[in-house]
Symmetry: C2
Subunit: 370 residues, 2 copies
């Protein structure tokens, strides 16, 4: 079946809902861990369940290149391949094509994008149809339309052409999408231009996708501009479909996103930070390699209920990270993901209680970015 979004409670524009999927129902807002190459780096599926992870994201571009969508189809789809029986969202590959392709050289034509593999430099050509066909073979629960994701800033003229092409690409993808068990999301682009965001949102909504993403954020713009991009897009999106802010995983950005009506977030940030010895705490990020933690025998975050914080000390994790032991990255990945998942859990409660603004203000007061 397709996903269904059920709105439970609103507090201002902030929404507490339920996302019904083929692999269970999950309350929103959610934060989705990123499993780029069909694995959330260092973690097992059981560990994802333990931190109450809901949807996991996998990257179409990476899986297309390795091991190839046919191998995953022959395995019985992505769930079987990676032994994950929760819902999976695949992106379109668009973002990676624009950010990862070798030498950033790409040639965008009406048909699709010519570029070179970041692994071996071989020539590749990705089209809206191919992106959907790959995602069909991967058999994810939620697929994304193939869009152009321009950097920030580009000229109004360029962005106008780009959003028009992105809409044509969205329609082409929709035309070949035939998987009744896979939902398809449309993506709103338009950069910082209010009228282009409006046009993109309204035209994309006319296509009647199963959900909507706000794209083109976290591409170089400042925070204020990013929040405005959300404002300029979200008011045209229907209430009965989920809204997904792509690539955003900073705690403050999650709060700002929820405040504006976002239901779904994803980001490589928490696991990437973990691999660099950084941990989220209620008082901001800390660097576990810091000498001051050498004999700090307290948990990373003593308010946290995760495996890392229940059993290990900063001193041990510091030792692991200094000694380049991957168990350290694993522990911090568990903690950082759980931190964001607890954040959205608490956000949901505050929406129910009509105290979202207070919760947000309180969190932000404590959380001073270091």
């Amino acid at each position: 079946m397709k996903i269904k979004y059920e709105l439970i409670k609103k507090d201002g524009k902030a929404r507490h809902g339920i996302l019904h999927t083929n692999y269970g129902s999950y309350e929103t807002p959610i934060f989705m861990p990123v499993g780029t190459q069909a694995t959330v780096k260092t973690l097992s599926p059981e560990e994802l369940k333990e931190i109450h992870s809901a949807v996991v994201l996998a990257n179409t571009y990476h899986l297309w290149l390795r091991p190839g969508e046919d191998t995953i189809m022959h395995a019985g789809g992505l769930h079987k391949f990676m032994n994950y029986d929760g819902p999976i969202l695949t992106d379109s590959g668009g973002f990676q094509v624009f950010s990862l392709a070798r030498n950033k050289k790409k040639d965008i034509v009406e048909e699709g994008v010519h570029f070179k593999s970041h692994i071996d430099g071989r020539k590749l050509f990705l089209t809206p149809e191919l992106s959907i066909q790959i995602q069909n073979k991967l058999d994810s629960d939620i697929a994304m339309s193939f869009d152009e994701c321009p950097p920030y800033p580009v000229s109004y003229e360029y962005m106008k052409q780009s959003v028009e092409r992105t809409l044509r690409w969205a329609k082409r993808g929709l035309a070949v999408h035939q998987n009744e068990n896979q939902s398809l999301f449309g993506i709103v682009q338009g950069g910082e231009f209010e009228d282009l965001r409006k046009w993109s949102a309204e035209e994309t909504v006319k296509c009647n996708f199963d959900g909507y993403s706000i794209g083109g954020t976290s591409v170089g713009e400042d925070k204020k501009t990013m929040y405005e991009m959300i404002d300029h897009s979200i008011k045209y999106l229907p209430e009965d479909k989920p809204r997904y802010l792509m690539g955003v995983g900073d705690p403050i950005d999650i709060l700002e996103g929820v405040e504006r009506g976002i239901d779904m977030f994803d980001c490589v940030h928490p696991t990437r930070l973990a691999r660099h010895a950084h941990a989220f705490t209620r008082n901001g990020k800390i660097n576990l390699k810091n000498l001051k933690y050498k004999e700090d025998f307290t948990p990373v975050d003593d308010t946290c209920d995760c495996y890392c914080c229940k059993h290990y000390t900063k001193a041990y994790i510091r030792h692991l990270m200094v000694a380049e032991e991957t168990f350290g990255s694993r522990l911090l990945s568990i903690h950082n993901l759980r931190f964001l998942i607890r954040l959205v859990e608490e956000i949901r409660t505050s929406i129910d209680e009509g105290t979202f603004q207070e919760y947000k203000n309180q969190f932000m007061e404590t959380y001073k970015k270091k």
Copy 2:
């Protein structure tokens, strides 16, 4: 308390026993996973329990350098520091000093060994007393005497001087060892020289250690010589103490060791192989990066009961290893360790049934080294 060894059953020289420790009783022969830097690479303590790991080994040299024995003492000892409530054995640091020290330049004097750190090149001096004092602070359950581990081959004259010094070092270590909850093992050296092995064994046994190691194997000698080294040492060791063959973890070597009366084995081999995509199977080692596994949707070893073999396919693990995802190393580490632990479990059963020789022959027939 000190460890106690209880002999249950013999089949030829092969022994099935029980090792009573501060952290539970474990049947022997055992294979001990190596947690060099207070972590068995990529794995959690819970995963070690799940594969029925008994004793875990940690390296004194590495922990002395990072994070330092005082930090671990302040944490409440190694068990608390690494969250492992099973028995821990620490080596003396001797082997690492001789194999890892920067540029292999070392200066062996009667007092101890001068060498340089493999991390930053700073000058270090390790003595038999210091090794024991460090191990005392680490608070492992079993400590090892500081010995000289010469390469293979050295002259008879050199080896004679070396075993005599190793005995003097053993006695000096014993003199400063004062931890009533920590057992201390003596180490038999002597290379391939039958009379030196006899002398070393007899003199070491006179010191009345809690257990005995056979050292100086796996240092360059051929297999036949290694097995002879065991033969020339073990006959002088008492029946009521455990015998430990250091640094040996090849399945065939474990069988040959048990046949000669060895109770304990350790090796970095299974976890190091895992990180290089190699897996043990009943038919020998396989390389998971091999293209032939690209669409092989069967487990690494379909006779295996481990987490890796119950839930994942060769195709998925191949993908993880090719894509350099550490979850692949983690899965193969679980499997390779479990493979050796199952091997010693089956060996124990065969000893009970008086069929060790048949078991050994059958295993070796199937297991063709690739």
